[in-house]
């Protein structure tokens, strides 16, 4: 049974939803975020760890594998956005976005994959965004960081295939979380109108794609990015 899952960025938003979703389905769920989680559900183990802190993540991941006996599934959900005109975005913001969304994800994936290679089985699911294929103005740093995630997903999938590890990405449309709270309503509806199905996404829409990627039967599915809402 491959049921040990680690989810990054679980304190709130989509990550918080995923914790309950996978506990309900019988997974042994560990997760992390920079802050403590309020009211962690029974059966869930929270690690306070920033994905940009390699040593803290190593402790969290090896700690999970040690206490549960393995680490089967990694969901790289932690991510931050910046919505601003490129010429008005400070270099420090660009660096911060890439540190979390790209460098943190890369280091976490490597650390988890090293544990998974020992069991010759693993699933890594990354988070992309429709902002990349839609080339959204005002999200240059964020969309570029997620483009890097897609590219990394595709190549890591090839390098880890021989170890029985698949690597895929889900690309949500806007979902009502704090991440998009600052986006003005008219910008949001203009964005939604560019989707084949012009509505906000629900966390359950995202979970459905992850369910597919991590299934035992999905062993032949790797290197894919699935965008929601009909965005291609």
């Amino acid at each position: 049974m491959h049921d040990v899952m680690f989810i990054t960025g679980t304190r709130k938003g989509i990550g918080r939803f995923l914790v309950d979703h996978y506990l309900e389905r019988g997974y042994r769920v560990h997760g992390c975020s920079r802050g403590e989680m309020e009211d962690p559900p029974d059966g869930y183990t929270h690690h306070v760890a920033d994905v940009t802190d390699g040593a803290a993540m190593h402790r969290a991941l090896t700690g999970t594998a040690r206490s549960e006996g393995s680490l089967d599934i990694l969901v790289n959900n932690a991510g931050i956005a910046s919505m601003n005109h490129a010429l008005l975005t400070p270099a420090s913001t660009v660096r911060e976005v890439f540190s979390t969304n790209v460098f943190g994800l890369v280091q976490t994936s490597i650390d988890a994959a090293k544990i998974m290679t020992q069991h010759k089985w693993g699933r890594i699911v990354n988070f992309a965004t429709v902002a990349t294929p839609l080339r959204l103005e005002g999200e240059s740093a964020y969309a570029a960081s997620k483009a890097a995630v897609v590219s990394y997903t595709e190549i890591l999938a090839r390098e880890l295939a021989t170890f029985g590890i698949t690597v895929n990405a889900v690309g949500p449309t806007p979902v009502a979380t704090d991440l998009i709270r600052g986006v003005p309503a008219e910008k949001l509806s203009a964005l939604l109108s560019r989707q084949a199905i012009p509505r906000l996404g629900e966390p359950a829409d995202v979970a459905n794609v992850i369910d597919f990627f991590i299934a035992d039967a999905s062993a032949f599915v790797t290197g894919q990015t699935v965008y929601l809402g009909g965005v291609v």
Binding site: A55, H58, T62, K114, T117, Q118, T162, F163
Partner: protein, 98 residues
């Protein structure tokens, strides 16, 4: 310290031999070539060996040791070329983390 590292490397190399049903590295000495492009194991087996050695070092010495190295795939300068150079790399990294 060197003795303990030597044992870890020898065990990991022997495990790899068993797994690959490969005899080229049986009973390795310090001069045994692990990886140099044409001789030794392929790059994927090298990855497996390094990953299991990292885990073994962490279990043995209680510190996280990364053996990742820019020179890994270099023909002449790879620290993974021979059993001896691999032992030196591990000792170096353990010292840096001490």
């Amino acid at each position: 310290m060197r003795d303990r590292v030597q044992v870890l490397v020898r065990e990991a190399v022997n495990d790899l031999n068993d797994e690959l049903e490969y005899d080229g590295l049986r009973d390795p000495t310090e001069e045994t070539v692990i990886f140099d492009g044409s001789a030794g194991v392929d790059s994927l087996s090298l990855v497996s060996l390094i990953v299991s050695l990292e885990a073994a070092c962490e279990a043995e010495f209680g510190v996280e040791v990364s053996l990742a190295d820019e020179r890994a795939m270099s023909r002449h300068r790879s620290p993974f070329r021979t059993v001896g150079s691999l032992i030196e790399l591990i000792l170096e990294r353990l010292e840096a983390n001490a």
